[in-house]
């Protein structure tokens, strides 16, 4: 019989090894899935993980996409990870992302077509504010009324989606757009656009912000008293209270920070790669970022690697969809499986597996 024995300290070695192991096993399980769908598993896995980067036919298009997709994922995941460490579960980043984009776009559309230099900075502020404000709803309900932040933040995603639909077909609809839903093209409005900074690199202001956020989060979590408080609140809430950590303040801070970052991600997306507000503007970055945060072990550096990997599955998945006719949902399944394996293998870092004799029941 196998028996689990709790480790006094989580194993650091397994902590690094489990994400790698989880990715490897997801590839195997994914291969089986693709085979079951009647596709060549080896070709599909190669198409997803190798061809976007190294196949001369696709790489010129795919490589820049890596940063375009990884940027928002990393930006959102870094914020979420800080909260997750403290046991504060913001799972509504998708909603904060939408509201951030809407606020930023509102600024751009309000100033259209004036050329002021201040418009883009104002949009950035509005985006961060929008995401922050949307995240403040669960935060304040949590601290004031003890309402579960998981349910509230998630339910607000659906509300945000409805607001997005109302805006895309109503207030923000392009007046010159012949009645089609969707706003003006913000990316083509020079004072408001978030352009590619270096040609063919995929680098835009959102990616820059993501890397700044990673550095900031690293310092916050590992060099600052607040990081210690976050850690303490997550692992020993009672001890944290004795140590003078105000739980309410931490909730407001963690939710606000992750909300603002998600809002920024939305703003950079709408002014850049997505180009405009449309009904299907959000593509699930807010949810995938949850997987990124866990895959990166809630560590800023890990999140960068995890974000790049998840971006790769998006790009490779699109490629496989196009080239092999792999259904688009299979990538979502793939990402879900990755999270399963990751959570399952965490047992190895927290527990030791022992072979127990039958008598020890």
């Amino acid at each position: 019989m196998l028996r689990l024995e709790k480790r006094p300290q989580p194993s650091a070695a397994w902590g690094w090894a489990t994400p790698v192991l989880a990715v490897a096993l997801t590839m195997v399980a994914g291969g089986i899935l693709f085979a079951a769908l009647g596709k060549d598993p080896f070709a599909a896995i190669k198409m997803i993980f190798w061809d976007p980067l190294f196949n001369p036919q696709f790489a010129s298009y795919s490589r820049p996409q890596l940063l375009v997709k990884a940027g928002p994922l990393i930006l959102i995941a870094v914020g979420l990870a800080i909260g997750f460490r403290a046991g504060i579960w913001n799972i509504g980043a998708e909603g904060q992302y939408i509201i951030g984009a809407l606020c930023g776009a509102a600024v751009a559309l309000a100033f259209f077509p004036s050329p002021g230099w201040y418009i883009f900075p104002l949009m950035v502020l509005a985006g961060a504010f929008g995401g922050w404000a949307w995240a403040m709803i669960p935060a304040i309900l949590k601290t004031r009324f003890n309402t579960n932040e998981i349910l509230v933040s998630l339910l607000l995603v659906y509300v945000a989606e409805k607001i997005l639909a109302a805006m895309a077909t109503g207030r923000m609809r392009n007046p010159d757009g012949a009645g089609f839903p969707g706003s003006r093209n913000i990316a083509q409005y020079p004072a408001a656009s978030n352009p590619e900074l270096i040609a063919n690199s995929g680098m835009h202001w959102g990616v820059v912000t993501a890397f700044i956020a990673v550095i900031f989060a690293y310092i916050l979590l590992h060099k600052h008293i607040l990081g210690y408080q976050v850690q303490l609140a997550g692992q020993a809430p009672r001890a944290a209270r004795f140590a003078g950590v105000a739980p309410a303040r931490l909730v407001v801070l963690c939710l606000g920070l992750s909300g603002a970052l998600a809002g920024l991600a939305g703003l950079f997306e709408v002014a850049g790669p997505a180009r405009m507000i449309s009904i299907d503007f959000n593509v699930g970055y807010g949810f995938t970022a949850i997987i990124v945060a866990f895959l990166g072990r809630l560590h800023p550096v890990g999140i960068v690697l995890a974000g790049l990997l998840m971006a790769l599955t998006y790009i490779g998945g699109e490629l496989a969809q196009f080239m092999l006719g792999l259904p688009s949902a299979s990538i979502q399944v793939f990402q879900g499986m990755l999270l399963f394996f990751l959570l399952a293998f965490d047992v190895l870092s927290n527990y030791r597996i022992r072979f127990a004799r039958a008598e020890a029941a």
Binding site: L4, E5, K6, L37, W89, I91, L141, R144, F145, N146, T147, N148, I150, L151, V152, L154, L155, L156, Y158, V159, K162, I163, A165, A166, T169, G170, F287, I290, I291, F294, P327, S328, A329, S330, I331, Q332, V333, F334, Q335, G336, M337, L339, F340, L343, A344, F345, D346, V347, N350, Y351
Partner: protein, 311 residues
């Protein structure tokens, strides 16, 4: 102009029961899971899995009841992933539940590809003879498909099980204080795995009710947050089975009312009416978890805490 006269209260009340049934089914299952001390946030994922498996089997066999059965099996099966993760691998319940939802949404989209735009076999309504012919009461209470009544019988059964059976007392003991239950010799892990599977089966049924009876069609992501509303409903009910019915019918009422207002050409844009069920859910959560109401909430003592028998 608003044409409120087009809203018929009898039709409204009848539609309310149908609209409430999927969340009622999912919520009564989750109530049992939470009573056993486990927080499974994967309700949405299990519902949508049930919705697609039920739909697929019903279409292929042309039998809605086989479809519903398959949905229960499908929901229970996928819930076992969560059970293994949290009960065997000791993984975090919040994260595992989320994983189940994310996976379920993708998996169902994959399975459902060939079924978009297909119509399922009809589920016949029950005929109660003269009861069905009664004015007002007939159409409201006695002219539904069997699942409406099954869901109510299920609630009664859960209520009886939790309060009056030995198994129910063991389940509640496990949920209130797993250390004590373990010390008394009860198998905490087994009780919890069974509860999770039951919750999965109920959520699967709820999902299939959506795709086979209420809508009836298969579309990607068709549960649209119903699983999360069911989770909120359990909090609303203070973990009491009959209050789940009350809550579910309340929500059913809101869903139906906003649909009717949309149809009546109410001057508010459709999108704002469509967000009302989510906003009301949040409002209810706030009222239930704040101040005086909180003391009567009575969440199970070990809810969400992992249990590992050492030694």
């Amino acid at each position: 102009m608003i044409d409120l006269s087009s809203i018929n209260p009898v039709v409204l009340a009848a539609a309310l029961m149908v609209a409430a049934t999927p969340i009622l089914l999912a919520a009564i299952g989750e109530l049992v899971v939470e009573k056993a001390g486990v927080l499974n946030l994967g309700v949405e994922g299990m519902m949508i899995t049930g919705a697609v498996t039920g739909f697929a089997v019903a279409v292929m066999t042309r039998d809605p009841y086989l479809g519903l059965l398959a949905a229960a099996v499908g929901g229970a099966t996928i819930s076992l992933i969560f059970a293994v993760l949290t009960q065997v691998m000791m993984a975090n319940q919040v994260a595992s539940g989320l994983a189940l939802t994310l996976f379920g949404l993708g998996f169902s989209a994959l399975l459902g590809q060939g079924f978009v735009g297909v119509s399922p076999p009809r589920t016949p309504r029950l005929d109660f003879g003269w009861l069905t012919e009664l004015p007002v009461i007939g159409p409201i209470l006695f002219r539904h498909d069997p699942m409406v009544y099954v869901s109510l019988i299920l609630v009664a059964a859960v209520w009886y099980f939790l309060n009056y059976s030995r198994g129910g007392r063991i389940l509640r003991a496990v949920g209130e204080n797993h250390e004590a239950a373990h010390a008394l010799g009860y198998n905490v892990r087994r009780v919890r795995i069974l509860a999770i599977a039951f919750g999965g089966a109920c959520a699967g049924l709820g999902g299939a009710y959506l795709s086979l009876i209420r809508v009836p069609q298969w579309t990607e992501g068709m549960t649209a947050g119903a699983g999360w509303i069911a989770l909120a409903l359990v909090v609303f009910s203070s973990w009491r089975p009959w209050r789940v019915v009350l809550g579910a019918y309340l929500f059913g009422g809101i869903i139906v009312l906003q649909l009717n207002l949309q149809a009546a050409g109410f001057r508010i844009p459709v999108e704002y009416l469509a967000m009302s069920p989510y906003l009301v859910t949040i409002l209810v959560l706030v009222v239930m978890s704040s101040g005086r109401a909180r003391k009567t909430l009575a969440a199970p003592g070990s809810l969400g805490r992992p249990f590992h028998a050492s030694g």
